[in-house]
């Protein structure tokens, strides 16, 4: 059966005459068109309509931002415009295709997402990685990357959907969404009715600490009046890591001062958080631990570091020697009242996907109970699966460990703080969401004070 998208492809490519004709027109048209357009109007001065409903309804509407911002208490329903409809139901996945996956580094277990998927769907999977969401967004926008599957963070959905970079998901291809994941994700606040995304993993941002060498016992750490102070403690000078994700770093400073609104727009609170980070740099000479916490920590370069729960859980595979005494060095702390920085990542399909049916199949595949749990066993980031019994995570060996008989459970028994529950996301946890540009600038200004190493 021919795929509907094949209609526009010509059968044998262009004839020479067609090619020359089109090339000539193209060559003549491109410079003159853009020159005329550029010279006539002042660049950037496009219509500044404030109607955001064309992109999405609900949410937090900010003047000048062409889409609503999602908040935990202000959910957004993204519109499905006429020119961006989901693919038709009932199509067969493209065969012999190469599925292009655009993702963070080390964020998919290749034995599952590549090998197993390739076998199941008779295709190739190729993973391209990005370092920052900004980099990913600009490459998607310039079409430098033609991905079939993309892993956005939930705070970028407005930009992605507003600029029609994503296509709506046709739920008929993703039956697992209704079956396997927490009810919250059938209708998440950042994408009501799960129109454009399916969930991937959930995580929290806490502290990874060395249990044995530094004399920090789990009970000590949990009993501290303010455990965030660990990151500011000069005792661990030269041994402290902080994520150079500006929001996460500032969130730690905000939470330390008892500010639980991680999207606060209060300039004083933001500035104080920035000053606190400068103080942290002075006191501990903290290092940037993004992307390396799970490597630096096992090698003994860090004693206390800010860490995503997934990095803490997955760090065991980075120890130089696989022994229980090594693994038991790393403990993870998250506020005991569970009021802290939590988040979830999602999977989406870019609008320009060449293999949209196969991409839908990939989404469904990653939501499968077995595949998802097996992926978790290597990635360390927990999927929001109903089937995953959170009380037995510390005693059940994961697929990756079982393959090599390492005897490592999904989560070590002393790392129960790293397990995320549905309650964390719906009730106690605080999610960093997209900020209005002028507020975002305040956060960046505060952060750049830390980065410049003021006074240190």
């Amino acid at each position: 059966m021919a795929h509907p998208r094949e209609g526009w492809k010509s059968n044998g490519g262009l004839s020479r005459r067609q090619f020359l004709a089109r090339a000539a027109v193209g060559a003549a048209a491109i410079p003159s068109m853009s020159a005329i357009l550029a010279a006539c109007t002042k660049p950037g001065a496009t219509s500044t309509g404030t109607d955001t409903s064309a992109v999405g309804t609900g949410g937090y509407v900010v003047p000048g931002v062409p889409y609503p911002l999602a908040r935990q208490d202000k959910p957004v329903t993204w519109a499905i415009p006429n020119d961006n409809q989901p693919i038709a139901s009932g199509l067969q996945p493209e065969t012999g295709a190469t599925l292009q996956v655009y993702n963070w580094a080390d964020y998919l277990f290749k034995a599952v997402a590549v090998s197993r998927f390739e076998q199941a769907f008779n295709c190739k999977v190729s993973i391209t990685t990005f370092d920052t969401m900004d980099e990913a967004l600009s490459k998607m926008l310039n079409q430098q990357i033609q991905a079939d599957v993309f892993f956005p963070t939930i705070d970028t959905l407005g930009k992605l959907i507003g600029q029609k970079l994503l296509q709506p998901v046709n739920p008929s291809y993703v039956p697992n969404l209704a079956k396997t994941v927490w009810p919250l994700f059938q209708n998440p606040f950042y994408d009501q009715e799960a129109r454009y995304t399916v969930p991937y993993v959930v995580y929290s941002t806490g502290i990874l600490y060395r249990r044995t060498l530094s004399g920090l016992s789990d009970s000590d750490v949990r009993a501290m009046t303010n455990t965030w102070d660990l990151l500011w403690d000069p005792t661990y000078k030269g041994q402290v890591g902080i994520y150079s994700e500006y929001r996460d770093a500032l969130a730690a400073a905000l939470l330390r001062k008892g500010v639980t609104d991680l999207n606060t727009e209060d300039p004083a609170q933001i500035a104080t958080a920035g000053d606190d980070l400068v103080a942290l740099s002075k006191a501990t000479k903290a290092r940037d631990a993004t992307n390396v916490a799970y490597q630096l920590f096992p090698h003994g370069a860090l004693t206390v570091t800010q860490s995503w729960s997934g990095d803490a859980v997955g760090a065991w595979s980075y120890y130089p020697q696989y022994t229980m005494s090594n693994w038991s060095q790393g403990g993870y702390w998250f506020p005991q009242d569970r009021v802290g920085n939590v988040n979830s990542d999602c999977i989406a399909i870019p609008k320009i996907a060449k293999n949209p049916v196969l991409a839908h199949a990939f989404l469904n595949f990653m939501l499968d109970e077995t595949n998802s749990a097996d992926n978790f066993s290597w990635v360390g980031y927990q999927p929001p699966l109903n089937a995953l019994d959170l009380s037995t995570l510390t005693t059940t060996e994961g697929y990756y460990s079982a393959q090599y008989k390492y005897g490592v459970p999904y989560v070590f028994p002393w790392m129960t703080d790293a397990i995320v529950t549905e309650n964390d996301l719906t009730k106690t946890g605080r999610l960093e969401m997209e900020l209005p540009p002028n507020v975002d600038k305040l956060y960046h200004d505060a952060w750049s004070r830390f980065l410049s190493g003021v006074g240190s």
Partner: protein, 320 residues
């Protein structure tokens, strides 16, 4: 005078004879565009890969953003906005002044030490290398056989708080113990810069020193100067150009260097101008324009040593 009527064939023959005579007298004759045209590939290269991209960078630096905060380069100077450039310059005299100051100190210290190290090495090879010169030069180039990244990562293991350097220091009484090399230690970054760039300086220095004629040195000694005096009065002044060239070669990349800090430090206390550029990526509204503005600022900073080098070489040429 009546010109003898020539057949066209004879005319052509005569013209060829004249041309031959001219070639004999003045060498081959070429049209005026002939020699300059040799510069065409270079000029085109410069135009396509430098001038035009530079204009795009300028257009981006003075550009604007759309409603989705995507950068829009502005190619018409009459629409330029100085907003992002002024943000960068304000930061430069604000919090980032520490970074600029730090970078200057690092670069000056590192290049002075680079000169010291490479001058002695190059001097030794030219004066005392004898038949083994080639071998010594090969040794000098040998670090390049291992990737820069590998060499820097290897330092990580040596400098780690539980690494070999601290272990060795631990055996030596009175030596500092448990040095935090990698967290906010300025010395580490300077050493990293020297380590990374010193070979680039030795090679040009060697090239220059090798060309100093020994007869000049002998003349100095014949006139009664001591070896030390000969060095300071003859060798050193003659190698001034080489030192300047070497400094230019090492300082230019140091201005944009961000990986030395990223690989050896990662604490904000040791970040350099190159890191500002790295950090400006994804710094919110107008980040691309700020990156472009910073690029221009760094370019202007780099023009300073370059301008001095050109000025002094020019002066030298005129004096000859």
């Amino acid at each position: 005078m009546v010109q003898a009527v020539q057949s066209p064939r004879e005319e052509r023959r005569a013209a060829r004879r004249r041309a031959k005579a001219q070639r004999k007298e003045h060498g081959a004759w070429y049209p005026r565009w002939y020699w300059p045209s040799f510069a065409t590939p270079g000029t085109l290269y410069l135009l396509i890969f430098f001038v035009i991209p530079l204009y795009v960078v300028i257009a981006l630096a003075f550009g604007t953003v759309d409603r989705y905060t995507n950068p829009i380069p502005v190619y018409q100077p009459w629409y330029w906005s100085g907003l992002y450039m002024s943000q960068v310059l304000n930061a430069a005299i604000g919090d980032n002044r520490f970074v600029y100051l730090r970078t200057f100190i690092y670069i000056i210290t590192a290049s002075v030490l680079c000169v010291g190290i490479s001058y002695t090495v190059a001097y030794y090879i030219t004066r005392f290398g004898q038949k083994r010169r080639g071998f010594y030069l090969a040794l000098l180039v040998s670090p390049f056989f291992i990737s820069y990244l590998m060499r820097m990562l290897a330092w990580n293991n040596l400098l780690a708080s539980n690494g070999y350097i601290n272990k060795i220091l631990g055996w030596i009484p009175l030596a500092p113990h448990n040095v935090a090399w990698q967290t906010g230690n300025q010395l580490t970054i300077v050493l990293g810069l020297i380590y990374g760039y010193v070979p680039y300086m030795v090679l040009p220095l060697y090239g220059f020193l090798d060309r100093i004629q020994t007869s000049l040195l002998e003349a100095g000694k014949d006139l009664g100067a001591s070896s030390v005096r000969t060095f300071f009065r003859v060798t050193l002044p003659l190698s001034k150009q080489a030192i300047l060239a070497g400094i230019v070669i090492v300082t230019l990349p140091m201005f944009g260097d961000y990986y030395t800090h990223n690989l050896l430090g990662l604490s904000p206390a040791t970040s350099m101008i190159g890191n500002l550029l790295d950090d400006a990526k994804g710094s919110g509204l107008g980040s691309d324009s700020r990156v472009a503005s910073l690029c221009l600022v760094i370019m202007i900073l780099m023009l300073l040593p370059m301008a001095y080098y050109l000025y002094s070489t020019n002066k030298e040429l005129k004096e000859r």
